[in-house]
């Protein structure tokens, strides 16, 4: 229905002048395509704004290239390369499973049998599967046996299969962990198969998939093992897989659940018993190496699985006791990996071209603009970032790349009909959404659930991310969101003639304060919602040491993120992880015991619940959200305080501030932040303007701010459904100015930047970007203040 024939990604988001950036392109159809490096200035096509603005850049990579299709081989699994020990004649396979889609709709994108433990390809080999009917199935070459009992979804089952080559007898076990009163028994099934197992050279042993076959097409080199395309991707958890080279009795299988054992003076073999130690081919323990891309084999041959496409780990196993939620403290209860058929860690495409970014290149938003003579088009965004110590400006825009990754390739409008309840109108989709709805192999966002309905908590940047594109309106607002919305601000900086650098979330995460301290002011994006701990530490250190922060949006500093250390060798910030825990506005909710990150082992969820209120970073924090239309601000009496009045110079006291804009039609909209001294706003924070009372019923208080479901939480009723424009001083001549609305930057380009939002932001930026400390506050402003000091005006009235 829709054809996006050009897609691509770069090997990095940020590149230093003098360094090289590589581009990977899928050109599915056209023989040739053209590349033009462009500087991105404005990406919103709304006719009421300045429109798309980009500048061609002379680059040695500009020109025509041969097109070729490149495929993403998504779906997670583990594999061991073919070897003699895996080429068994007799065997026993066993594992615990918690399947999420044992039976799929015939039109489901990957309908068919799912591999659990396999060394099987095209009717040759052996393997344990869930078949198309949702039943456990043992395959030996082209023959199969099944229990005929459908596997219950979202429940633990112990499954095992044995085969004795001498007798030709195969036995299959399926033992549900929970037996409901009306469940039929599932007795073991034994059958004489009488096959000699055929082994195909090169077919790997796989967990959670099976080998679809070797493919000589060059693009199949992107699969793992290279050139071997995997099939039958399994959705669900697998715990404690074991492979033995003889048919074990049921009693031996029970003993084998214990797995391989560590050697001691009194136990000089690897098995739970001496005889079993001689039978073990592999005994995998997924609780070992949770923060790696390796499935550890504790058996004698150390056949560690390469874990492909980053499935979710630190998942509760079949033996989870509920006493300990941190996998580091109870690893043996976290022996499960949750595999998904739409996991993707790295597209692993070939490089099509690269750009050696000349020394002296200005630090800005750039993109490789790809076009064909048939009208195909795609943009691959990237940023030129100066090395620490080689800053080009006094102003830095901190590109919220973690947030871009969190929203990468989201499917909400498509998957969740309920998204319409959230936005109070019919979602509008674009080519990108339509393409992704068909191409699930491009992976989803951290807002999505996987194709099996489980929460998606890992996002890679090594894949085309079609939501980080110009000319893209997001269904949430019928307007730009994240990347294209941040270009509203970039347009304004350019139009006003400011010199600025671009630095990325990952730079602040890896370089800390060094990345920030040489700038006079840091400007955020419109929605820096997702942040790592090192990044927040750096921002706090910066503002405490006299740095100035302009917080240009809302719903920031909200979710805990970490970069997965197993991918650090591929560059900075390749995969970001987040868990949606007990509270916060969530599109999915983590299951009990699954709150800790698999990468860093830290507790996930909201920063608020780790003792870091959102309001502590820049002075305001999220109060509410609504996605129908935006409103505007009015000044408060506090705006006349000399500590903040300078920001409102040129704006009349009664003026409507921001009753125009390209996001919702006003500056105050979508997600809104307020001052709350009980939640971390400094007690000396001033509120210069607010949008109180003007929002629709579509705006609702965030759920972490109330304990009971209750009425009166919408924009027409609740006093905290508003946006506060706020300022506070930080020590050593620093300060934070918070504009507190995601829609805010959408007003900057209005009337080519000639408007009162522009005046306000210009006043702040001019003051914040000057060398030296900010002017000191009046002496009488230095007083003792409590967090709760306040006497309600209505309490003073008596009627």
């Amino acid at each position: 229905m829709c054809a996006m024939r050009l897609t691509g990604y770069a090997d990095r988001f940020g590149v230093n002048p003098g360094k090289t950036i590589k581009f990977h392109v899928n050109c599915d159809g056209p023989k040739k395509y053209n590349c033009q490096i462009v500087k991105m200035i404005h990406a919103d096509t709304n006719p009421r704004g300045p429109g798309l603005i980009e500048e061609n850049i002379d680059a040695d990579c500009n020109g025509e290239y041969n097109g070729r299709p490149q495929t993403i081989y998504s779906g997670s699994y583990g594999y061991v390369e073919d070897n003699v020990h895996l080429q068994v004649e007799s065997f026993t396979m066993q594992c615990w499973i918690w399947p999420t889609t044992p039976k799929t709709h015939p039109k489901y994108w990957r309908h068919g049998a799912q591999g659990l433990m396999t060394k099987w390809c095209n009717g040759k080999g052996y393997g344990l599967f869930i078949n198309e009917d949702g039943c456990v199935e043992l395959r030996i070459n082209g023959k199969s046996i099944t229990t005929g009992a459908p596997v219950r979804d979202h429940a633990w089952h112990f499954v095992a299969a044995s085969y004795d080559a001498d007798s030709g007898q195969a036995t299959l076990y399926h033992e549900p962990q929970i037996q409901y009163a009306l469940d039929p028994d599932i007795p073991p099934v034994s059958k004489k198969v009488g096959e000699k197992i055929s082994h195909t050279a090169g077919v790997p042993f796989a967990v959670a998939a099976y080998a679809g076959g070797a493919d000589k097409d060059p693009q199949a080199q992107a699969s793992r093992p290279a050139g071997m395309v995997m099939a039958g991707h399994y959705n669900g958890k697998i715990d404690s897989p074991r492979l033995c080279r003889r048919a074990l009795s049921r009693e031996e299988i029970e003993t084998m659940k214990l797995g391989a054992q560590p050697g001691l003076t009194e136990r000089r073999h690897c098995g739970p018993t001496g005889p079993l130690s001689e039978a073990i081919v592999g005994s995998w323990d997924f609780s070992d190496g949770i923060n790696t891309a390796c499935g550890k084999d504790h058996g004698p041959y150390l056949y560690h699985l390469d874990i492909v496409n980053c499935p979710t780990r630190a998942m509760t196993g079949h033996n989870f006791s509920g006493h300990n939620f941190d996998w580091k403290h109870a690893p043996k209860e976290y022996g499960a990996i949750h595999f998904h058929d739409d996991d993707v860690d790295d597209a692993r495409w070939d490089v099509d071209f690269e750009w050696n970014v000349p020394e002296g290149t200005s630090s800005k938003f750039y993109a490789a603009k790809l076009t064909t003579s048939d009208g195909d088009e795609d943009y691959i965004p990237f940023w030129v970032v100066p090395e620490v110590g080689k800053e080009q400006s006094k102003i830095a825009f901190m590109v919220p790349t973690i947030s871009y990754m969190a929203y990468a390739n989201e499917h909400l409008a498509n998957n969740a009909g309920g998204a319409e309840l959230l936005v109070y109108r019919v979602p509008i989709m674009q080519d990108q959404n339509m393409f992704l709805s068909e191409h699930r192999e491009y992976g989803g966002s951290i807002y999505d659930t996987h194709t099996d309905g489980s929460g998606l908590c890992l996002s890679s940047r090594l894949r085309p991310i079609l939501s980080i594109r110009p000319k893209y309106d997001h269904f949430l607002m019928q307007a730009p969101w994240q990347y294209p919305a941040d270009l509203h601000l970039i347009y304004w900086l350019e139009e006003m003639g400011y010199k600025y650098d671009c630095i990325l979330d990952e730079d602040v995460n890896y370089d800390g304060l060094a990345r920030l301290e040489n700038y006079n002011v840091i400007i955020t994006g419109s929605h820096p919602e997702h942040n790592s701990g090192p990044q927040l530490d750096a921002l706090h250190n910066y503002t405490q040491q006299g740095g100035r922060l302009m917080y240009m949006g809302a719903d920031a500093w909200y979710w805990i993120h970490s970069y997965h250390p197993a991918y650090d060798h591929l560059g900075r910030g390749v995969i970001t992880e987040m868990r949606r825990c007990e509270s916060g506005i969530r599109t999915w909710r983590a299951d009990p015991g699954e709150y800790y990150h698999q990468g860093t082992g830290e507790l996930g969820g909201m920063w608020r619940y780790r003792g870091r209120y959102l309001h502590s970073v820049a002075g305001t924090g999220m109060s509410s959200e609504g996605f129908d239309i935006s409103s505007y601000y009015s000044r408060t009496y506090e705006s006349n305080d000399p500590r903040i009045s300078w920001a409102f110079e040129g704006i009349d006291y009664d003026e409507k501030i921001g009753n125009f804009g390209l996001v919702g039609g006003g500056a105050a909209g979508t997600e809104l932040d307020i001052v709350d001294t009980m939640l971390g706003s400094p007690p000396h924070t001033l509120v210069g303007a607010t949008s109180a009372g003007r929002h629709t019923e579509a705006y609702l208080l965030v759920m972490e701010d109330y304990g009971f479901s209750q009425q009166g939480i919408d924009g027409t009723q609740h006093p905290r459904v508003r946006s506060d424009i706020a300022f506070h001083e930080t020590p050593n001549g620093g300060g934070c100015f918070a504009f507190s609305s995601i829609a805010f930057c959408g007003s900057l380009p209005w009337n080519n930047g000639k408007n009162n939002i522009s005046t306000l932001v210009g006043n702040v930026l001019d003051r914040f970007s000057k060398d030296g400390p900010l002017p000191p506050p009046p002496k009488d402003a230095i007083i003792h203040r409590g967090r709760a000091d306040y006497d309600p005006a209505m309490n003073k009235k008596s009627k």
């Binding site: 229905m1 096509t45 709304n46 006719p47 009421r48 709709h105 039109k107 489901y108 994108w109 990957r110 409008a413 498509n414 998957n415 969740a416 009909g417 309920g418 998204a419 319409e420 309840l421 959230l422 109070y424 109108r425 019919v426 979602p427 509008i428 989709m429 674009q430 080519d431 959404n433 339509m434 709805s437 068909e438 699930r440 194709t451 000319k471 309106d473 607002m477 019928q478 307007a479 599109t587 999915w588 996605f627 129908d628 239309i629 935006s630 409103s631 505007y632 409507k656 009753n659 125009f660 804009g661 996001v663 919702g664 039609g665 006003g666 909209g669 629709t696 019923e697 579509a698 959408g746």
Partner: protein, 149 residues
Amino acid sequence: MISIPKKGTPERERLIATHKECIESMKGVPGCTIMKCETQGDTTVVSGGFQEDPLLNKVLIRMRTMMPGNFGGKLVVVCTKVEKEWRIARLSGIRGVPPEFVNDKVYDNEQDPQHDIFLMRLDQLDEEDGYPEHFNEGWKRRNDNWTVT
């Protein structure tokens, strides 16, 4: 649960007229709500619509709660040419299966198809839903016509 007004009733005609009036006033707004802009395309002063018509509000909520696969696919708008053309499509309700267009009608703005979807849904929805007589097994499996994100 709120009833969908029958065809030809004054209530239904009122809802349709109000919805149309609101949608017309929203043309030019980069966003949309079923309320009326005092000046078309300008959200400085908005009023009426779902906030002042409880029936319209609840009918809209019933429409919005539909599951992606309901009635052959929940209706959505698809922008087929940026800033120029829009069409109405149905979600498939099956992951990996893309939406399909419902007809050949092409709109020149993003608001009108939202009104047409309102009209289509008035015809789609049963007059009554959500009472004990409507119980089905889906109620036990969260497939109860009340979607969550």
